[in-house]
């Protein structure tokens, strides 16, 4: 549903077919590798296995081991060598298997990936993409459902994006690979198998723009990745009660599209941001803070955050109690004074 809203037709597009987000990502990698032989893909299990989520399925068979291969099991090593490859002029696309397994690479990410271009006055840029299958809601055991976006968005120098649907997944990954800036490309695991009809190659809105995926007048819900669906569900439910909800898919977490979001919030005068990560210090804090800073006198109520609790992500049997749901979103809206 969101796909069709953000999709823009391109001339060479094939007939639409149902594609999962994992399939769209796979197609994006395939097309990027075919289009530019500087694009190489590596990480843990991306070769013959095709990645633990099968996003790289079939690519090694097609492109060979010099273009896509399994690296030793060491995330700092993966990011560190990708830096060296990018310095040489390649465009490495590397995979961190889960958010929590990107942490060993934190130093390379923060001290080099984010800082190299600035350090060298732009003489050395790092055109690399770090793919992170992200967030939870897949019944994963500990360490398999973290949300790491706040770590990356707090780091100047990183571009951080998260698609919510197959068309964006394709379009944004192509754009990320073409970008001269390093991009943290976060893929919501729980949406990997969601489908949409797509004609490839598809070009949606630019990767740094938010998109209004549903129009409304009373409230703006800001979601990204897995919570765009949550927002849409809440909007559906609320419309039954006569509340008109606008839903914005942020898409780009860093930079933040102040323009699109601001326009929506100034129209509705109320906003809530939804994410899976814990609330305290989460990305929603930045969203709430900057939306408020820039639109304070248009706001009829505080920007709300509907998020995970301030606890480590729970075990599978309890995650349903942790995850923000459409019900929680609606309950949160109820806490506002609705006197106007």
């Amino acid at each position: 549903m969101t796909a069709t809203t953000t999709e823009q037709e391109t001339p060479a597009a094939s007939a639409p077919t149902q594609l999962t987000m994992a399939g769209a990502l796979n197609a994006a990698l395939r097309d990027a590798m075919a289009a530019d032989d500087r694009v190489v893909v590596y990480g843990e299990d991306v070769g013959p296995l095709g990645g633990v989520f099968r996003v790289t399925d079939g690519l090694q068979a097609q492109f060979g081991e010099d273009r896509i291969w399994d690296s030793p099991l060491a995330e700092s090593g993966i990011i560190g060598t990708a830096i060296g490859m990018a310095m040489y002029g390649m465009r490495p696309v590397v995979e961190m298997q889960f958010d929590a397994f990107s942490y060993p690479a934190f130093e390379q990410m923060v001290s080099h990936v984010a800082k190299m271009r600035n350090r060298t006055k732009g003489r050395m840029s790092l055109p690399m993409v770090v793919r992170i299958p992200c967030a939870g809601a897949i019944g994963g055991v500990e360490h398999h459902s973290d949300s790491s976006e706040a770590y990356w968005t707090a780091t100047p120098g990183l571009t951080v994006v998260m698609p919510s649907n197959p068309a964006d997944a394709y379009s944004m990954l192509r754009e990320a690979i073409d970008s001269d800036d390093p991009v943290v490309f976060m893929e919501p695991k729980s949406r990997y198998w969601s489908k949409a009809p797509i004609s490839l190659p598809v070009t949606t809105a630019p990767m740094d723009r938010a998109v209004v995926v549903r129009e409304g007048t009373d409230v703006t819900l800001l979601g990204y990745g897995p919570t765009v669906r949550t927002a849409l569900e809440a909007a559906d439910a609320a419309s039954a009660e006569g509340l008109s909800i606008e839903v914005v898919d942020l898409r780009s977490l860093s930079p933040f599209d102040d323009e699109t979001v601001g326009a929506s919030v100034r129209k509705t005068s109320r906003a809530a941001v939804i994410h899976e990560a814990a609330q305290f210090g989460g990305y929603g804090a930045e969203v709430a803070a900057r939306v408020t800073e820039r639109n304070f006198h248009h706001l009829a109520a505080p920007v709300l955050r509907v998020t995970g609790f301030d606890i480590p992500y729970p075990s599978p049997k309890l995650e349903e109690h942790y995850l923000p749901t459409a019900d929680r979103v609606l309950a949160a809206l109820d806490t506002w004074e609705w006197d106007d």
């Binding site: 291969w69 500990e142 049997k317 109690h321």
Partner: protein
């Protein structure tokens, strides 16, 4: 079945063995933080140390690396443990296929490593396992239900670490090795003669934390035994993409600690080598790195598809090197495996399997509010607010359900 752990402990006669360490270990330093310890700089044998060959014959001479075959009653006990462990493992894999567990990493085929090494530490020692080492925890006396709480998805860790002196099963690779080193160092500072043992996979040796753990242990000369279970795959990635070293035990050289390359499907060798390393560590001789060369017969976890990256022939090849069958052949040839003993062991194994089925087919009663109770020792106002909110939600849901139920009843 609640007696499993006690029963296993009671029959645990292994510690009485006076295993002899190789001569080069005799001259060990005494425990003191300021003593200069001799750095070990010997290449591990390229051929894995082996005390029983695949046909179940005792191996002597150079191939045994100076180690001696454990006594027969020790081997019988190791056999019992392996059989029980395998039965448990097979049971859990079956339950996982039935959807009773969120995930389960099987150690089928790795029993010699898993059971040989864990049997070499004493009750006061600590064990730092990975996700793959459930059967070592079982052998250590932890109840199947407690081990499997995490894989069932109830809570991240289900057993009392202090009671069993077993850390939780680490998922972030190689991280637990550092915990083992830190605890060993703390104990040493306290003149508490415990040993810490940790297991790592072949893939995990590539992580920076493995290196840092080896190095800290060697520099601090902590009483730590590292067992690398080289099952030749890290999920789908074969050993050749993980290291260019001839053996993983070779890494020990770079830390000045002894390294042993052991046949990881020979429980006699695994037990003898790890036991010697434990004794060396306990008497102040510092850490040891042991590689057990074995094979992961099952898929990585239930969600894996090994047909994508290895051939059935390879798996068959390794099935013919089964660690349990090997020891069984030897015990039979020695006349140590009577029919009654076999029956007793089978019964014990079936008991464990039955108990595992029982606990895993009973749904645990979970309290979602507990999510907030253990994050901090010092209560936090914000968490109490969130807890109250969830409590209200649950009450609403319950009363909705109650109304619906009442409605349905009417």
């Amino acid at each position: 079945m609640a007696t499993l752990s006690t029963r296993q402990s009671r029959s645990f006669t292994l510690r009485r063995d006076a295993l002899r360490a190789p001569a080069r270990w005799r001259n060990i330093g005494r425990m003191s933080l300021n003593v200069e310890h001799h750095s070990v700089r010997t290449l591990p044998s390229e051929k894995p140390i082996r005390l029983l060959d695949n046909a179940g014959h005792a191996v002597r001479g150079a191939a045994a690396g100076g180690f001696e075959l454990p006594e027969l009653d020790t081997l019988v006990e190791l056999y019992r443990r392996m059989v029980v462990a395998r039965r448990f493992d097979v049971q859990v894999t079956a339950l996982t296929k039935q959807g009773r567990l969120a995930t389960y990493p099987s150690a089928y085929g790795q029993e010699a490593c898993e059971i040989g090494a864990i049997s070499a530490i004493d009750a006061q020692d600590w064990f730092f396992p990975t996700y793959r080492d459930s059967i070592a925890l079982l052998t250590r006396g932890i109840d199947p239900g407690d081990i499997l709480q995490s894989f069932r998805g109830d809570w991240h860790n289900g057993y009392d670490q202090h009671a069993h002196r077993c850390a939780s099963q680490a998922t972030p690779l190689a991280t637990q090795a550092l915990h083992a080193v830190g605890m060993a160092h703390a104990a040493r500072l306290r003149q508490d003669p415990i040993v810490t043992m940790t297991y790592l996979g072949d893939g995990a040796t590539s992580e920076g934390d493995a290196h840092e753990a080896f190095n800290f242990a060697a520099v601090w000369q902590t009483p730590t035994v590292f067992l690398v279970q080289n099952n030749q795959f890290a999920i789908s990635v074969p050993l050749s993409r993980q290291t260019h070293a001839v053996t993983l035990a070779d890494k020990a050289v770079g830390y000045g600690m002894p390294g042993f390359h052991v046949d990881g499907n020979d429980v006699a060798a695994m037990y003898a080598v790890t036991r010697a390393a434990v004794e060396r560590a306990r008497s102040g001789g510092g850490p040891t790195l042991i590689e057990g060369l074995t094979y992961r017969i099952e898929s990585h976890t239930n969600s894996d598809d090994p047909t994508r990256y290895r051939s059935a022939r390879d798996v068959e090849h390794w099935k013919r090197r089964d660690p349990i069958e090997r020891l069984e052949k030897y015990l039979v040839s020695e006349g140590a495996l009577t029919e009654s003993l076999r029956a007793e062991i089978t019964d014990a194994a079936e008991d464990v399997a039955a108990h595992t089925r029982d606990v895993m087919t009973t749904e645990a009663v979970l309290d979602p509010l507990e999510l907030f109770d253990h994050v901090y020792a010092r209560p936090r106002a914000a968490l109490l607010e969130q807890r109250a909110r969830l409590e209200a939600e649950l009450a609403d849901a319950a009363s909705d359900a109650g109304r619906e139920h009442a409605g349905a009843a009417r």
